[in-house]
């Protein structure tokens, strides 16, 4: 394996990290909460999608099921947990997301058990053959990267080119002024949670074939996505994508040259360095929040 091979191998996992980080960014932007339950939601919807796949034998239907379930689960968490908690106390909301994570993992263990399960990939996960060797980049990696790019483009268009995006950005930045401008802020917040749930669900289904699915196997993704979102500035979709893919590459190098167990340690070191050197995030807006 060459240096280039390791980099190539990191693109797809980086894309999935980026998607999960985008989900965190969307929730942060709409409600100023870091949703630690996001990967729990993704794990849960991946199990649901797996059940749908086993029932129908159709990968695409299972993906659509995951997207819908992700949106619904996002709304459930938002309305049943976050809204009541936030009314009491803002910081309690973040702790509540941990509660949701634990509840989701416990429920998944009860429903589907803790034994590893395989989620079959839709296309070939073995690397391309060219120039007389196998490259660490497969059709599946192309699919993952393609879906990520497509989603990021779609979100960018919605946020910058539609009045819906304008209203979502306004609600996130200053709910009072947004309301005075006729924006139904509560609707925009709920939409942020639903959208984040769907994107997390897509990330879950995409990454599932690369490891065995258990109620706890997504935990590493939480650490990585959280690191990426914070380094990117929590507000920035561009930051989430850039650092998501960047982290994928770095981790692939770390795993390649040392041990895959070191990946999460490296991620946490990156996070610590970032918080020491540039706590507001690399891509954060530097505008003050006062009006």
């Amino acid at each position: 394996m060459t240096f280039f091979d390791h980099l190539l191998g990191g693109i797809a996992s980086g894309s999935v990290i980026a998607l999960m980080a985008i989900a965190l960014v969307l929730v942060w932007r709409s409600t100023r909460v870091v949703n630690f339950a996001q990967v729990g939601q993704a794990m849960f919807t991946t199990f649901l999608a797996l059940a749908v796949y086993r029932g129908t034998g159709n990968w695409l239907i299972s993906l659509i099921a995951a997207i819908l379930a992700g949106a619904i689960l996002g709304l459930i968490v938002h309305f049943l947990v976050m809204r009541p908690v936030r009314r009491q106390d803002g910081s309690g909301a973040i702790i509540a997301t941990f509660g949701v994570l634990i509840a989701l993992q416990a429920s998944a263990s009860m429903i589907w058990g803790v034994d590893p399960q395989a989620y079959p990939p839709i296309v070939d996960i073995i690397g391309f053959e060219a120039f007389g060797r196998t490259w660490p980049f497969s059709r599946y990696d192309v699919l993952v990267l393609g879906v990520t790019v497509l989603l990021v483009l779609l979100l960018s268009v919605v946020f910058t080119r539609t009045s819906l995006g304008l209203r979502m950005r306004a609600s996130a930045f200053n709910p009072t002024v947004a309301r005075l401008s006729g924006v139904r802020v509560s609707q925009m917040l709920a939409l942020g949670w639903a959208l984040a749930g769907s994107i997390g669900a897509i990330a879950g289904v995409l990454i599932a074939p690369t490891f065995s699915v258990t109620p706890y196997s997504f935990d590493i993704l939480l650490i990585l996505a959280f690191t990426v979102a914070v380094i990117g500035g929590l507000d920035s979709l561009v930051g989430a994508v850039a650092f998501g893919i960047g982290t994928g590459l770095v981790l692939s190098l770390v795993s390649g040259y040392s041990d895959s167990g070191n990946a999460s340690i490296v991620a946490l070191v990156l996070l610590a360095l970032n918080l020491l050197l540039k706590p507001e995030g690399v891509f954060a807006h530097h505008h003050s929040r006062s009006v």
């Binding site: 919605v158 200053n174 401008s181 924006v183 139904r184 959208l195």
Partner: protein, 262 residues
Amino acid sequence: MKYHLPLTHPLLQTVDISVTLSGLKILDEVSIGIPEGSVTGLIGPNGAGKTTVFNVISGFVKPDSGKVKFDGKRLRHIKTHQLTKMGISRTLQGVGLFPSMSALENVMLGASVQARSGIVSNALAMPWVDAQQRRIREHAEAVMAELGVLEDAHRFPGDVPYPVQKRIALARALVSDPKVLLLDEPAGGISAGDMADLGRLIRSWVPERTVLLVEHHMELVMGVCDLIWVLDAGKVIAAGSPEEVRNDPAVLAAYLGEEVDV
């Protein structure tokens, strides 16, 4: 003594509004009326409760008692986001612009109340969303042109002078085509020359629109208002034409010791 002024046709009206915040009586049975097609001023020394009146009308503050009437109908459980749809638009003290959005986007947000397309079609960026988006943008640009800030459309609020920011905020309030405009200190932080322009601008909106103005600059208030209400310590102490209010002994007493730039 409660002050009552007979009004023939108030478009917007507060009736005996009382507000208590953390034990303090901020408003005490305040009844004011804003005649349709008028520029009406709401003045008073600092802490008189002027902005609280705005906050009650905007649904930010729930009054202990009393009611708000708009177009003859009582407004119950005012939801702030529905105001623009009803035809009431408000500016804030300062500018309240979104710093990460361009001037044009800030104004377009005010017009997005006209957006009829649903969440799904927006999310999928359907073609008709594009057409609607273009209409909203054209309308926003027209209002910006009217206020002389179109050339700043693609700049960010932080990059334009304060008086221009104020104009952009006004454009955002106007773009929803309101029947009533609530202006909270529109002249704050702008020069005398700009203030004269602002006065002419406000007069140009009536009688098609109705304006309620909270303002410290007496020159502007006296120059543009048809009717002035005076609040002091949460009570209405006087009302009338600028001439009547200027010579009212109760008003002079309330402002005694205050710096007034008449």
